[in-house]
């Protein structure tokens, strides 16, 4: 019996002892002094090198649509985010971060971890979702302080997320157009308090001093953005 083989087998064995439900691993995040946002490493790097097949992604997406819906719209109350028309790069980064434990999501992990979805399937699902049209009936805010929301958006958000909330595929900045008000509000709050551990430190800096009222106003404004070229027909 080869000594190295035993060591290797013992190292690998714990992977096979999956507990039920599967527990999300924990990776270093924004709380760590060594944190590098969007580091060019890990599963994200691996998946970005794969070629996503949207046709295969449609079948793999079955495991997602029980929550995110067949049209990618999630739920307007923001429990599940809207995914249709999101940049593949963003979807891949967020999936990889959840799979490797930099972004916590115990609700989703049992259905999206490496134990059930392959890296190739993540690439395929991302390709499938990116091609989908963004529904127009997303959850919107109360519409009461849109002037303030616009003011904040133009001052703090537009440079990275674009005039119409189109984000940037290359920079891994998400599409905001068509996203649910409550989901964006929740993420802003989580980023503000460090709960979203894979957050971009630039984002933390932007929202750190937002009052709840400002977070609500800017989320409301963003929930009304629309990318004409990716929006679904009326």
């Amino acid at each position: 019996m080869n000594k190295y083989a035993i060591t290797l087998a013992l190292t690998l064995m714990p992977l096979t002892a999956l507990s039920v439900p599967p527990q999300q691993p924990k990776a270093e995040g924004i709380e760590s002094p060594n944190y590098v946002w969007n580091a060019d490493s890990g599963e994200k790097k691996e998946i970005l090198n794969l070629k996503g097949d949207a046709m295969l992604g449609k079948e793999a997406y079955r495991g997602c649509q029980g929550c995110h819906k067949a049209n990618g719209a999630g739920i307007p109350d923001g429990t599940y985010p809207q995914l249709a028309g999101q940049h593949a790069s963003v979807l891949i980064k967020q999936m990889a971060d959840i799979r490797e434990g930099q972004r916590e999501n115990p609700k989703m992990f049992p259905f999206a971890g490496k134990h059930v979805v392959t890296s190739q399937e993540v690439a395929d699902i991302a390709a499938y979702l990116q091609n989908m049209k963004i529904p127009r009936d997303n959850g919107k805010g109360p519409g009461t302080r849109l002037d303030r929301g616009k003011e904040l958006y133009l001052k703090d958000c537009q440079t990275c997320h674009g005039d119409n909330g189109e984000g940037s595929a290359n920079k891994f900045y998400p599409v905001l157009a068509g996203q649910h008000y409550q989901y964006m509000l929740r993420e802003i709050r989580d980023i503000r308090k460090g709960k979203r551990r894979n957050a971009n430190p630039k984002m933390v800096k932007v929202v750190r001093d937002y009052t709840d009222a400002d977070a609500e106003a800017v989320s409301d404004y963003m929930s009304r953005l629309m990318m004409p070229e990716r929006a679904a027909e009326k």
Partner: protein, 209 residues
Amino acid sequence: MKYLCIAAFIIGEVAAGGALAVQPEASTNTEKARQIVSQVCFACHGMDGNGAEPANPEFPKIAGKQAVYLLKQLNDFKSGKRKSDIMTGIVAEISADDMSNLALYFAGQKNKPEIVMLPELLAFGKKYYEEGSPEAGVPACSGCHNPDASGTDKYPHLAGQYATYTYQQLKSFASSERENDRGLVMQSLAMRMSEQEMKAVSEYLMSLK
């Protein structure tokens, strides 16, 4: 070296979602299958897989289920991956070829509709089947199994199944007594379901044609 091989094999299987999607051989021997059914399977599952007469709802209806799914279950009974006091002994006597024949035979039968026993559960059962529980993090069943519960090769047909059987299976996934599901998905979600939800969704499934 032996352990390394075993470890590598197990990891390979886990990486593949534990799904060794064995396709039944296309060259089915229907006559051979019918013979085995008439000697063995019919007593619980009926000649056409719609249950014996009189029906015992603890034994599943298997008519019209995907052949890939049926064969996987037979293989899992044989390997011990799915435990059953009854089925383990039965499949031990059946060859791999015959299991393929049987899977194709029952897949080719037409599932018969059932009479709903608890109609008061249907409205909630339908809602749960189609929406799951966003609060508890239970995906909608329809997402994988299709809105009409017709299923796919990866996710079995569920329509018209005895509510008693579906409920039993959800319970045994929740307790991990049944653990041959792909990627632990059914175990994980069943753990998040209440008994009432399991009952309602099982009743709703029985009502589907």
